[in-house]
Structure formats: C-alpha cells, structure tokens
C-alpha cells in the first residue's frame, strides 16, 4: 500500500487510478484477477489502458537500469496485467480460452 503522501501511480498516469487493483504480482495474482473478472470489466480495463501503453513504456524506460520507484512499479504491473488479458479482448473476444483447460492449472507463483 502506498504511504499517505505518496501517489499510487506516477502523476502523468493518474487517469489509470481506477485500475490500480490490476497492479498485481506474481503472475498467479494476475491470472486469478483475470479469471475473477467479467468480460465487461476486462474490456473496460483494456479499452482504457491499451491506448496508454506506448506512453507507459516510454515513461518506464527511464527506470530500466534502476530499481523502479513504487508508483512506476505499479504502472509496470498494470502493463503486465494488460498483456495478461490482451488475448481475451483482441483474439478470443470472450472470457475463456476456446476448448481450453481451467486456466488456474497454469497459475504460477514465480
């Protein structure tokens, strides 16, 4: 949890504040969030964050050689959640993998 005075996300990305709950690690937490979300929620998250991805990457590149400050790290984790759900919106156009097994069988704590 952010300290009292610390912004949760970098100032330039305060519009993504409603999606802070997607700033998750490790991979298992992002997979569980994906499984627990409705397609409406997933699409809303994707539609808002996807157009910001280029700006997010450019912002984060400044920190690539240093430990990221916590707000930047949360932004980074949101980008990982975006690619976690990208397939559902862009290719499957539904919440489930076609003829797939339970996705939690592929949940990983690493």
């Amino acid at each position: 949890m952010p300290a009292i005075d610390e912004p949760s996300l970098p100032e330039e990305f305060s519009d993504l504040q409603p999606y802070l709950e997607w700033a998750l690690e490790p991979e298992r937490a992002r997979t569980e969030m994906r499984v627990a979300s409705s397609m409406v929620e997933i699409r809303d998250f994707y539609d808002t964050v996807q157009p910001r991805l280029e700006a997010m990457i450019r912002y984060l590149e400044d920190f690539r050689d240093d430990p990221m400050p916590a707000p930047a790290h949360r932004l980074y984790l949101i980008s990982l959640s975006l690619v976690e759900v990208a397939n559902l919106v862009e290719l499957y156009k539904r919440r489930e993998v076609f003829e797939g097994c339970d996705p939690l069988r592929y949940a990983s704590d690493q």
Partner: protein, 398 residues
C-alpha cells in the same frame, strides 16, 4: 525474403522411407504392461534431462528432480570443489529421502532429518551420531549413491543404468551436432509451469510433435503464424530424423496480422539489438530428445528464445507436463513486456493443448479405434514410436 519452405505433399516420407506409412496401434498408450516396459527399457536406460547447470551456479546449490516412473529422486548438487554431481536422494542409514525441498543451497553439508547423518556436498558421509553404537561401520563405505551424469551445453542429463551403453554425446547424436555452441546460458529461465494431465505421456508429446494442428486447434491465437500452402495447410521448412531424436523447423507466415498490443510491443525502440543464433535451422525449431524432452527454439521479434517441455509419466494415464520458458535478459522495458505478452499467449495456447491431450486420451481409452492414422507432417511422431518399438523390441541397453 525468399521462402525456404517447399509446399508439395508427401515430401518427408521420400526423404525417410524407412519410417513407413502404416497406421500405429493405440494399445501402447493404454497398456499397463507396456508402461512397465517403457519404465524398464526406456526411462531406466536413456539419458534423461533433469535440468540445467544455470539452476545451481553457486557452491552448495542443489536441486532435486523426481523421475517418478522409476521412483527415482535425483539430487544434483554443486560441490565445494565447483563440480556438479548427481546422487540418489537417499540417506545411507535407512533410506530416508535426504533432501525434501525442490532446490536450495547447503552450507557445505547435507543433513538427514531422521537421525542427522551428515554428508558433504560432494557426497561423502561425514558424521554419524552415536557412531560408536553401530557395528563395524566404516563411513567411507556409505557415501551417497552416485548416479551417472553428464552435461551437454549446460543441460544436466542422468542415466539410471549403472553402466550406460552410450555416452551422452553419442546418445544425442545429430541434436548435439546441430546445437553445438548454442548460447542457452544467455537465455535464463523466466517461468515454469507444471501441469498434471489425465493422459498417457506420449499423448502430449505426440500432440506437440507436429504442426498440422496449428491452423485448426490454435486458430484464434496462431492460426496463420506459420507458413502454409495455398490451402492453408502447414508445411515444414526442414525435417531431420536422427538416431533417436528429431527436429522439424518452420518459417513464420507472411499474413500474420499484429494486434494493437503487439504493434506497440514490437515497435522499434532504439535499444533493440538483434540476438540470433546460427545453430537454428528455421524461425522455429522443435527438437524432440528421446524419450521425454523437447527443446523449442524460436525467434521472438529480433531475439531468440526457447521453451523446454518435459513429459514426466506418473502412471499409464497420468503425466506431468512441465514447461520452462527462457528469455534473454531484456534490454528495454518494451522487450520485457513483449516477453510477458508472448508468455501469456503461449500459456493460453498451452491451455488449449492440455484440454486436447486429455480429450485425446479419453478417446484412446474408449478403445473405439485400434489405430491412429498419421500424415506426412506427422512423420516425427512416427519416428518417435519406431524408436520406442525398436528399443522395447530389442530390450537392449543404449
């Protein structure tokens, strides 16, 4: 770029007529007797990959891998002399399992938690509590039991036969020649998935060992990812059958469209530096290393990556499919997110595969069909089963 893939039909059986064209029996996927033969004549008598030396870079680092079909637990440890050794993970006293965690670092010694017998990280028995109360016990005779082990390009292989008939290099044959010097150490482990499947271990391996299914089963994610003919049927760029192993290679398709996310992630970022490997044959190479190991090398953007698969039989109808994802250290945040994206796409595709493996096994188990039928692009499956039949038929150690 000129296409390297020939699109004509039935080209691989021309190259390898000996593997035949007949249907294969379904019983070997189902028979308990057959499973026992595979244990005794294949898994106990082949070089089995158990991991990589990168997993244990430091003195005292160890990992434990179970070869469940042989009820073997293998302890691989880097000793204080820097040398990597493999032992049965069994205490000499009363055969307790020595190390219980999957990996770790020992401070120069390994303690059995039953009666605290202590071993060095090179396998000698160092200390026995209340030693004076034993009868003629000579500690020098009771070190850990070594397992034959050899290392190829950083991959650790063990052989459970006390006297392997072949060296690892000779066993790997053409695979070792093709991938000699491949910089696997530049592509560290990023993720491991270990999925227990209700299927015979060969069902999953066979399902992966061809490209025919891609435009169909994986149509949503990767239907047009690889080179196809004008009827949208997959074709290989190259295919080679080795002594026991095989490789098939393919080119990526030209019509593959980038999604909005992929367009952003594959954009030139100014720090991109190509990382390609001269050992690769195509843009994706699928090496099957007999019996249960796969090395899958592929180009991801301008960078080479690889996956490994292990199919670990638990029972005739239960298997752990272990998938390890390796990427080079990313040079930029964009590359790191691209790797994550690729991993997620792969994982979704693997979920399609797992469901399919189990559905195929159910169909086989119904015994509705005595045979499976294979086409030219499924020739590597045919080769694998021929090697298996030869091995079981001959019953000879290799």
């Amino acid at each position: 770029m000129a296409m390297k893939t020939e699109l004509r039909e039935k080209q691989w059986v021309e190259k390898y007529p000996d593997v035949g064209t007949e249907p294969l029996p379904t019983e070997p996927y189902l028979s308990q007797e057959r499973f026992a033969l595979e244990r005794d004549l294949v898994f106990r008598r082949s070089w089995i990959n158990v991991g990589r030396v990168d997993e244990i870079p430091g003195i005292g680092d160890y990992f434990v891998r179970d070869i469940a079909i042989c009820k073997a637990s293998i302890l691989v440890v880097r000793g204080s002399d820097g040398i990597v050794r493999a032992f049965h993970n069994v205490c000499s006293h009363r055969s307790n399992t020595l190390v219980l965690d999957e990996r770790g670092t020992c401070p120069g010694r390994l303690n059995c938690h039953f009666h605290n017998w202590v071993y060095s990280d090179t396998g000698e028995l160092l200390w026995v509590p209340d030693e004076e109360n034993f009868f003629d016990l000579d500690k020098r005779d009771h070190g850990l039991t070594p397992v034959n082990m050899d290392i190829w390009e950083g991959f650790v292989f063990v052989h459970l036969d006390p006297e392997p008939a072949q060296t690892l290099q000779s066993y790997l044959g053409g695979v070792a020649d093709q991938l000699a010097g491949c910089p696997f150490d530049k592509m560290p482990l990023s993720q491991t998935y270990r999925v227990e499947e209700r299927a015979n271990w060969k069902v999953g391996l066979d399902a992966q060992n061809e490209l025919y299914h891609f435009p169909f089963q994986h149509r949503h994610v990767a239907g047009d990812a690889f080179r196809t003919n004008d009827k949208r049927q997959s074709r290989y760029q190259d295919l080679r059958l080795y002594n026991y192993h095989s490789v098939w290679s393919c080119e990526y398709g030209e019509s593959h469209k980038l999604t909005p996310i992929a367009s952003t992630l594959y954009k030139f970022d100014g720090i991109l530096r190509a990382f390609t490997i001269p050992q690769m044959i195509g843009e994706m190479d699928f090496f099957t290393v007999f019996p249960n190991f796969v090395i899958l090398l592929y180009q991801l953007g301008t960078s080479t990556s690889y996956l490994t698969y292990h199919f670990w039989p638990l029972a005739v109808d239960r298997t752990i499919w272990e998938i390890r994802v390796h990427f080079r250290e990313p040079l930029s945040v964009r590359e790191r997110i691209r790797q994550e994206y690729f991993k997620c796409i792969s994982r979704d595709t693997l979920q399609e595969d797992t469901a399919m493996h189990e559905a195929v096994h159910s169909g086989l188990a119904s015994r509705a069909k005595p045979h499976i039928i294979l086409q030219d692009n499924e020739i590597a499956i045919r080769h694998f089963h021929k090697v298996m039949e030869d091995r079981i038929g001959a019953g000879l150690p290799t």
